[in-house]
């Protein structure tokens, strides 16, 4: 199966990856090759087969509702790109 340029542009936008037209074209070719490999599984009859999300069929364990974490803002923000007054800063968000 072969992807279109607009498919690739759409995916890049969804994934927040800046790509110029040359990169889009290169990605289109490579992704098309990979999807040919993937296409092998389309022919398999999976009627009635339950999808498998986890290696083991187990249930979620529940955590007691008890506070275990303390304030580590200083340590966490020491490695942040841009902070001010305890806030992480990003370019203005418009709604």
């Amino acid at each position: 199966m072969s992807l279109t340029t607009s498919d690739v542009q759409k995916i890049a936008r969804l994934a927040r990856l800046a790509m110029n037209p040359t990169e889009i074209e290169a990605a289109r070719t490579q992704l098309s090759g990979i999807f040919e490999l993937i296409a092998e599984m389309q022919a398999v009859d999976t009627n009635g087969i339950a999808p498998m999300s986890h290696a083991q069929d187990l249930s979620q364990q529940l955590r007691p509702d008890v506070v275990t974490e303390s304030n580590q803002r200083e340590a966490f923000q020491a490695i942040a790109p841009q902070v001010e007054n305890g806030l992480y800063l990003v370019p203005q968000v418009l709604e």
């Binding site: 992807l3 498919d7 690739v8 759409k10 995916i11 890049a12 969804l14 994934a15 927040r16 990856l17 800046a18 790509m19 990605a27 490579q30 992704l31 090759g33 990979i34 999807f35 040919e36 490999l37 993937i38 296409a39 092998e40 599984m41 389309q42 398999v44 999976t46 087969i49 339950a50 999808p51 498998m52 999300s53 986890h54 290696a55 083991q56 187990l58 979620q60 364990q61 955590r63 580590q72 340590a75 966490f76 020491a78 490695i79 942040a80 790109p81 841009q82 992480y88 990003v90 370019p91 203005q92 968000v93």
Partner: protein
């Protein structure tokens, strides 16, 4: 000293024949000599390692030492270690000093082991040759033109070159077993859920599993004893009793049923690898094992299924790398979206971006059922194949990798060819089974060949027994690459 097993090194430490500081320094010196060529380590901080060695010596002196106390272990740079730069092989985390310890790191610290440094890896563990690392490729000590395999390529290279006593790795589609095979060492990926994923930077959460890489099966058992155990911080960590993985090492193999899946010996497998694996099976027969012909009919679908599921999970797991709270942020941008897009375009390498794109596509509107859901259904078929197979045999054997190590750059332009190098390892991750690789010969180019051993769920101790008995009878695991002579 460098060729002693972990047990022997531990004995020497406990007998005060050598101190942990001396042993650590010995390895640090070798790293200084060989790492400029091999590039197995991304980060070495001698003062941190030596401080840990001094603490270990104190434990050794006051009699609180455990099996691995004082032994220098290399940590794959996918494990967050407090105060250590933790890059995951990516520019995105080039400047990331972890503020916390992964469960695996905590376990080694508690055992008194020395963290010798962080090993190089394919970026975010995506790769089979260690060529996708932002920090440059790792070289195979058996032939520095060859790749070490990936993604735990730095770990495999370091163990093979005696730049550490043993190492940790992680395996999502073969990332412990394939580099172990290509570098002539031993490595085991335990049953999914056996080692906590807490603090291990996620690639594909439902497949990722940490495990040890070392020179022999006994070492792997001692490492597993430290790494495993229930961790309530990982919901997928299994609540099982602690076990001693070395307990069955010396059991005789008489009557062991070895399943040979015919799909693993079909077209695509290079002749020299096939011969080594056959020879190993013959050796096992001499040890009393019997061979059973089995079939894993859906195994051929493992690669396509994996390249839907793993990228899908990865595309979501890697969304947190957005330049807001830690890691790389692009220097110039016009607005929020531009900041995201440039940060991620510049911070991630080509392979990572490729997989994010695949994953984003297969999850997107209108394609989910045809790709993601279909892949999850076939995943079940693949797992069921193994359930059937283990009704007829105790362990499954086959090649780890279709060929010995290929040269750097050889498969660079064709992702599909690269993906096919994990053709024998991926099904094990999809099923969540334990799998290991041990050296079993050398190929036509004189490079190591790995024998893959696949066990049923939670049969790690038995697999280590199977590997150990072979290693008692052969010496492939003791060979040292000439380039690093030790």
């Amino acid at each position: 000293m460098l060729n002693l097993s972990l047990q022997q090194q531990g004995d020497a430490l406990r007998a005060k024949k050598i101190s942990s500081v001396e042993l650590t320094q010995l390895y640090l010196d070798r790293i200084a000599t060989h790492n400029p060529v091999l590039n197995a380590y991304v980060t070495v901080e001698a003062h941190k390692s030596l401080a840990q060695a001094r603490s270990a010596d104190a434990m050794l002196a006051n009699g609180t030492a455990q099996a691995l106390t004082g032994i220098p272990i290399a940590q794959k740079d996918i494990f967050c270690a407090q105060g250590w730069r933790t890059t995951c092989g990516s520019k995105m985390l080039d400047n990331f000093i972890s503020p916390y310890d992964a469960h695996v790191i905590t376990q080694f610290n508690a055992a008194g082991a020395v963290n010798l440094g962080k090993t190089n890896m394919d970026e975010f563990a995506m790769g089979s040759s260690n060529e996708t690392s932002y920090f440059g490729p790792v070289r195979n000590p058996w032939d520095i033109k060859a790749v070490p395999g990936g993604s735990s390529g730095g770990a495999a290279s370091a163990v093979a070159a005696r730049l550490c006593a043993a190492a940790t790795g992680t395996d999502t589609g073969g990332s412990i077993r394939q580099p172990a095979a290509l570098c002539g060492i031993s490595g085991i990926k335990p049953t999914y859920g056996t080692v906590s994923r807490y603090g291990m930077i996620a690639f594909a959460s439902s497949l990722d599993q940490a495990g040890p890489m070392g020179r022999n099966a006994e070492d792997l058992g001692l490492m597993l004893n430290v790494m495993t155990g229930h961790d309530p911080r990982d919901s997928t960590s299994l609540a099982r009793d602690k076990e001693d993985y070395t307990r069955d090492l010396s059991k005789p193999l008489k009557g062991l049923r070895i399943g040979l899946p015919r799909e693993f010996f079909a077209a695509g497998l290079s002749q020299d690898v096939a011969q080594c694996v056959q020879a190993a099976v013959t050796e096992y027969q001499k040890l009393g094992a019997v061979v059973v012909d089995i079939s894993l009919p859906n195994a051929k679908l493992a690669v396509p299924v994996y390249y839907v599921l793993a990228p899908a999970e990865a595309s979501s797991n890697l969304s947190r790398f957005d330049g807001v709270r830690y890691g790389y942020r692009a220097p110039d941008y016009t607005d929020l979206t531009d900041m995201y897009e440039k940060t991620r375009a510049q911070g991630f390498g080509e392979e990572v971006k490729r997989r994010i794109m695949i994953g984003t596509y297969v999850l997107s509107h209108g394609y989910y059922d045809a790709y993601y859901l279909q892949a999850q259904k076939i995943r079940r078929l693949i797992a069921q194949d193994f359930v059937e197979a283990f009704k007829q045999c105790d362990v499954i054997m086959g090649p780890t990798s279709p060929s010995t190590a290929f040269n750097l750059g050889e498969k660079g332009d064709d992702p599909v060819q690269m993906y096919l190098s994990d053709i024998y390892t991926i099904a094990v991750n999809l099923a969540g089974l334990p799998g290991m690789s041990i050296p079993c010969g050398t190929g036509a180019n004189g490079l190591p060949v790995g024998l893959q051993i696949i066990g049923d769920y939670f049969k790690e101790a038995q697999m280590l027994n199977v590997a150990h008995q072979y290693q008692m009878a052969t010496d492939w695991h003791q060979r040292v690459p000439a380039t690093v002579g030790a």
